[in-house]
Symmetry: none
Subunit: 227 residues, 4 copies
DNA sequence: AATGAATGAGGGTTCATTCAT
DNA sequence: AATGAATGAACCCTCATTCAT
């Protein structure tokens, strides 16, 4: 036991430096998706990752694949955070709304903004692995919010979709900028938004809560083709 | 007396169709800046305006100039809204926080999101005409917020910059989406955010309030590359 | 007699202002062909002529036609100069080489450089009217040079083509510039070139004399299509 | 010792094919600058070089940079020719005017006409490397002409600028022509011009000698438009 | 496996020419 | 007849992706 041929090792285990590069790329890409959006030039990602552009393509055959891996990586992280938050809420003495706050701020640090490619037209968000993470995430967050609602601190007229959309929006860089400066505002404004989510509700809300799923089903017109 | 020749009228007044086209362009551009950001292809703007691309360039010699006109147009509108809101607040029986709510929702309808080019690196936001509108706007909004603060309904630890940034962010379409669907959320989430702005403050806010001016001074790297 | 209907007058005689515009256009174009080459933007020509662009097109349906008229106009002028020079040489006491000098310098003033469109690929230099002028010009110049040669002051190993090419080249603006400055050099360098044409020849000349006709027959490869 | 690894060599030395392409581009560009002027389409240069247009841009980020490299390349060559000519003149038994003739004809072969971008408005002819070549060139040529003047064979009333401008002009292809045919005349007419430079001067020269420097200072309007 | 280089397609802008007033 | 406006094609340059070392 314990002895494998070189060939076997090759097949199963990638070279150490290749693994390291893979990490670097995902890291660079997730940062840059947040700063510049999902259209950031591939060469720039490669540059920030400190590798040649073709190396990037060896790891991820095209931009779609890269987006996919980034999303998967971040979604995994964020899902874990949601689960942890939920567990904290379930734990003895846990407060669900506080756990929600903790999760929201942690999600920003975990680069939840790098999930933006999900909304890109043509992105196949239903591929198995991602679906799994989304389920973990959605489940945990829904249970957490239900618990917060039940505890009487979360307004009953808001849903997971509301939180997700607002979180995504507020965590983005300002349009047309890659201002690091937005960072100064993100946590501040999320805090204010969370305050707005608390009971008693201070205003009537228009529309209804929706999940991201619902949103994705909206009539998304490719506005380009209307002539 | 009082009568001008046709020639004179011609000289001073642009042709009717040209005026119409100009309106259409600004209209299309302001919509598309909101939906896609200030980098949206010029050809797409022309297409949505229903004109040839070169016509776009006849009206606005380059993208900068177009951004400028759009911003001016929207800023004028939004400034008026802010002034109206302020006047409503000053009027007998007026409530400043309610006026603030009214303004926020109206600003979205007025396409305040189309002001995003202001944050674009290289945009000369200090040109005289725009500076004037910004002053009108800033003055009115600051007075409105001060009044709301004084009336005891607005948290004292938030500033104009907070409102502006959150408003901008929440009013944007989701990244990569051309979904009209986001509209369903905008007013809803702004309402929640406004709730969070009310007294009594329900949480401690990190950071400090900042104006858009401050933001612009942040270390902003040019958008396309960082080399 | 002497009475024509308005209709007849219209058909035969263009309006006075139209005539004036036509002159202005040719004037502007001939200047600008010299300064910028035959590719100068049509709108710029219209601008310098002080008219709208469409007016230019009413007079000359396309750039080719405009070039043609300019060439015709200048060729006529230059041909007259050549004839005058020849006559001066034939007159009693006339010196042919001196007449040649006079002609060369006068041709520059007459904007001989505006003949450059002749060499443009696709230019139909064989249209009847132009052919006539070219004949007048060539005849006069050939007789003048023959006479100068016979008088013993012009080298026998140079021909009309030599003079024409050098004249054209030295009278052009420097490449890439519309420097008025070149004017300072033109007469100076033509003078030097003419000195070089005098007897006794001070060097052996490579190649043989050629007419512009010969030149036009050269293998002119449209270099664009060699892949 | 003294041995470099493959990696090191890679880092320092560009790939062989890239070098080859670079040469081809400069070669094509220098030809085409002469034939069509500095405005020749980049795509055409790429085509003649036998590469894709983007490859051209990889080597030279923009047209300015390409002009610069071409100019540098040719200037180096021409400067060497001037120095050689000067040395030949200084050598025992050397004749300065003959050396000048040799230089002029060699400069044409060395594509001195490709220096035309120098006169383009906005071209920074003072960048260090180019300034160096220009100095080498100017020094050598001035010394050569002074020597020729001192030897009594060169007219005293002509300067470097005269030679340079006339050389540039006579070496160009006829306007609008892509005729290789002009080559037949160039050496012929330069020979005639050189003859005109010899003593005794056969005519009075208008104006005064000027350097290219002087010319550059003339009131040069930007090329594209004059508004 | 890693890389620099090459490429075609696409967006920004200008210009000759046509259209509508 | 004169004009301002509109347009498609062409050119400059960038970027995702592929190729060759």
């Amino acid at each position: 036991m314990g002895s494998v041929t070189t060939a076997q090792r090759r097949a199963s285990r990638p070279r150490a430096d290749a693994l390291r590069n893979r990490e670097r790329i995902i890291d660079a890409a997730s940062e840059m998706f947040i700063e510049y959006g999902p259209d950031v030039p591939m060469d720039e990602i490669a540059r920030r990752a400190g590798i040649g552009n073709a190396t990037l393509y060896r790891h991820f055959p095209d931009r779609t694949e890269l987006m996919w891996e980034v999303v998967l990586y971040v979604a995994d992280h964020v899902a874990s955070l949601a689960e942890e938050a939920n567990e904290a809420a379930e734990a003895e003495g846990g407060d669900a709304f506080d756990a929600l706050r903790t999760f929201v701020h942690a999600a920003v640090e975990a680069r939840i903004g790098a999930l933006c490619p999900i909304l890109t037209p043509g992105f196949d968000k239903d591929r198995a692995e991602l679906a799994a993470q989304r389920h973990r995430f959605t489940d945990a967050l829904e249970r957490l919010m239900r618990r917060a609602r039940d505890s009487g601190r979360l307004r009953p007229d808001v849903g997971v979709g509301d939180l997700m959309v607002a979180l995504t929006q507020l965590a983005r860089p300002l349009p047309g900028t890659n201002c690091v400066g937005i960072g100064r505002f993100v946590h501040r404004h999320l805090q204010l938004f969370l305050d707005g989510l608390m009971t008693p509700g201070r205003s009537e809300l228009p529309g209804t809560a929706a999940t991201l799923e619902d949103l994705k089903k909206e009539k998304c017109v490719p506005r380009t083709a209307n002539r």
